[in-house]
Amino acid sequence: MQEHDLSFVRTEMAIAEAPPRSAQGTGHWLRTNLFSSVTDSVLTIVGVVVLILIIPPLVDWLFLSAQWTGTDRTFCATTVQGGIRPDGWSGACWAFVGDKLQQFIYGRYPFSERWRVDLVAALFVVLLVPLLIPKVPRKGLNALLLFIIFPIVAFFLLLGGWFGLPHVETPLWGGMMITLIVSFVGISASLPCGIILALGRRSRLPVVKTVCVAFIELIRGVPLITVLFMASVMLPLFLPAGTYFDKLLRAIVGVAIFASAYMAEVIRGGLQAIPKGQFEGADSLGLTYTQKMRLVILPQAIKLVIPGIVSEFIGLFKDTTLVSIIGMFDLLGSVQQNFHDATWATAQTPMTGLVFAGFIYFVFCAGMSRYSMFMERRLDTGHKR
């Protein structure tokens, strides 16, 4: 009888051999990512040359040669221009930004009253941060506080004239403060207005639909600056003679109108993506129009277009710079206003101010877009079609 001779049965896995030297380590990474072909190598070399041309001078200008401290323009000017720097010097004048930082934040808001702005900012942060963190409970109350109570408190605090606070008129406001106020009001007004306009545009009632379509297309077809001009020049004409209409309020109205039209289109995109069955289902349950929209359609529609909404917010935040053209001094406006300030006017001042402003805008916008990516991942229920 033949014996089954199982002379060898492996009981444990063989140890995997290391990949060949050519397929691991830095050398492999370089070969696949930078020098995979002749064209690739040429591109890499061109890229390196471009970086060498840009990065060292940039670092030098931003940090190494930059003037960090100083009290006036002599610190940032060359000897020919009447300063202490050697000829041919070029570097960022951060001393200018340091000296003007207060103005970039508060504008010409009186020194003794700036605690009010700080308080409003602190309130804003305290109310906003919990709203942004998904785990914190009581979102409804939080939103109510932020969007209804906070603006009222902020209005009385900033403007003053009540409760013994001195009145600070809006032409004194400026800098970052204006940028944030215009964006905040614009954002909080554009979302509800946009929703109403989008619902109106999708309505079956011809008059409602026509009015909404006309409004949206008219505003979307023209540049923001004409809307702002319209708000600043034509609003006083439209109101009864003698009505005083604050300049800041005009700018805010212009920005809000403009943003609403764009927001409406984003939300319409979300509404159109909701299957018809959802509408019919809500109808068959006997919900009224308001209930149907509030409980069934809008939560789904808005969730779908969160990336679009946030990119509208980012666009709105960037567009607030345009109020500087109609004579408000927002962050960019107040930076620009100081280019020709006699104490600090040098060849380096404008560039330094612009780089500073650019950095601030970048931080805000990049922050918003990161947050939207985070929310998108969180809200992704896997229902994507």
Partner: protein
């Protein structure tokens, strides 16, 4: 009460008109209409009142008045004695000029950067990503100031102009390049060019017919290039080289002659192009990534080369995704060109603003702005829709 009402409604099969959607619809629309008409009536009343108070006559009669201001960069002859209407035409032309130049440059740059973001090369990918992230996250107005105040104002005085090859100069007063001065018989070159293009189209049609019938390919591209370059060159030689250049010359304080591009136009054009290119790059990237991988794999399996695959398989499908958002970027660029007013380039909004300050005709100027921008938007939309329809999937 409520239950009784419901019961009765069920019994008779009729609903109270209060709950009839049709009746409600008519009611709400009527309400909206009345409120709207009332609001407009109120506004018009106020406006008429305010205008009378300020002694401003409404109407477009002011367009025929003397302008009284000068426009430095006019494409058509313009002096301070010209009419206000003509000044607005100058503005429209400048808006068009910077928009068209910006759209062309932004498209080219945007496509390059968008493809760069998908490159297999790590370095190129990162450089393109940094470019896109920076420009998408700062305001366009800041980019305009950056070019205008930051870069172009630190350029040297005319005496220390930076020289470029072919008689081009760059200094704080702008960019100078030679003017083409066409001599006698120069029209021959134009005629030759038209004939060459017509021949190239003919060759293309014939080559397609032959490929359909026999499968043989004809080098259409090289033939067309040879025709379009060769024929005008031949005509140019035959006509006796009828072209001379008016090269800008350095005098004591300035450059004379040639074509001057003012720093305002240059910075507006550069900033609009760079800013919009970042957005176009993202659109292009999304478009190319939207083409399923199986498409290019199938194409390789059929034996097509990478270049051919990109040209015949990937790009035509990506374009379908790209065109609609690309249209809105073009419209954005055109609308952003109105920021010219911030640096004093004489576009429609800047000139309109000057006229508005001089005459106080706010309503008319804003109406002109709206009409022009809406008209231009409509034109771009129509063109891009036509292009989109041409590119759309043809389903059999």
């Amino acid at each position: 009460m409520a239950s009784q009402d419901t019961l009765r409604a069920v019994d008779t099969g009729k609903v109270s008109p209060l709950y009839d959607p049709k009746v409600r619809g008519i009611f709400f629309q009527g309400l909206l209409f009345v409120v709207l008409v009332g609001f407009i009536y109120w506004i018009i009343g106020n406006t008429v009142d305010n205008l009378e108070r300020a002694h401003i006559a409404s109407g477009f009669g002011f367009l025929n008045r003397r302008a009284g201001f000068d426009v430095s960069d006019a494409l058509i002859p313009f002096t301070s004695d010209s009419t206000i209407g003509r000044s607005l035409v100058v503005g429209i032309l400048n808006t068009l000029l910077v928009s068209v130049m910006g759209i062309v440059t932004a498209s080219i740059l945007g496509f390059l950067v968008g493809i760069g973001r998908l490159s297999t090369n790590w370095l190129i990918r990162k450089i393109c990503m940094v470019y896109v992230e920076i420009f998408r996250n700062i305001p366009v107005l800041l980019v305009i100031f950056f070019w205008y105040v930051g870069v172009l104002s630190v350029l040297p005085q005319p005496r220390q102009s930076i020289h470029f090859p072919l008689g081009m100069f760059l200094n704080s007063r702008g960019f100078y390049f030679p003017r083409f001065v066409w001599g006698e018989h120069a029209w021959l070159v134009g005629v030759a060019l038209v004939i060459a293009i017509a021949l190239a189209v003919f060759v293309k049609v014939k080559a397609t017919q032959r490929q359909m019938a026999t499968g043989q390919q004809f080098p259409v591209l090289w033939t067309s290039v040879a025709l379009i370059v060769g024929l005008p060159a031949l005509a140019f030689l035959l006509a006796g080289l009828p072209l001379s250049f008016e090269v800008p010359k350095l005098s004591t304080f300035n450059l004379n002659g040639g074509v001057q591009v003012k720093p305002e136009l240059l910075s507006l054009y550069l900033s609009l192009s760079f800013y919009t290119a970042a957005f176009i790059a993202e659109i292009v990237r999304a478009g190319i990534m939207g083409v399923p991988h199986g498409q290019s794999e199938a194409s390789y399996a059929l034996g097509l080369r990478p270049g051919t695959t990109l040209r015949l398989v990937v790009v035509p499908q990506a374009l379908r995704i790209i065109i609609p958002p690309l249209t809105s970027q073009y419209l954005n660029l055109m609308k952003n060109s109105s920021l010219a007013v911030a640096i004093g380039y004489a576009d429609l909004v800047a000139i309109g603003g000057t006229v508005l300050n001089q005459t106080g005709q706010a309503i008319e100027i804003v109406a002109i702005w709206m009409a022009v921008y809406l008209g231009l938007s409509l034109l771009v939309s129509i063109f891009m829709n036509w292009f989109n329809a041409k590119m759309a999937l043809v389903e059999r």
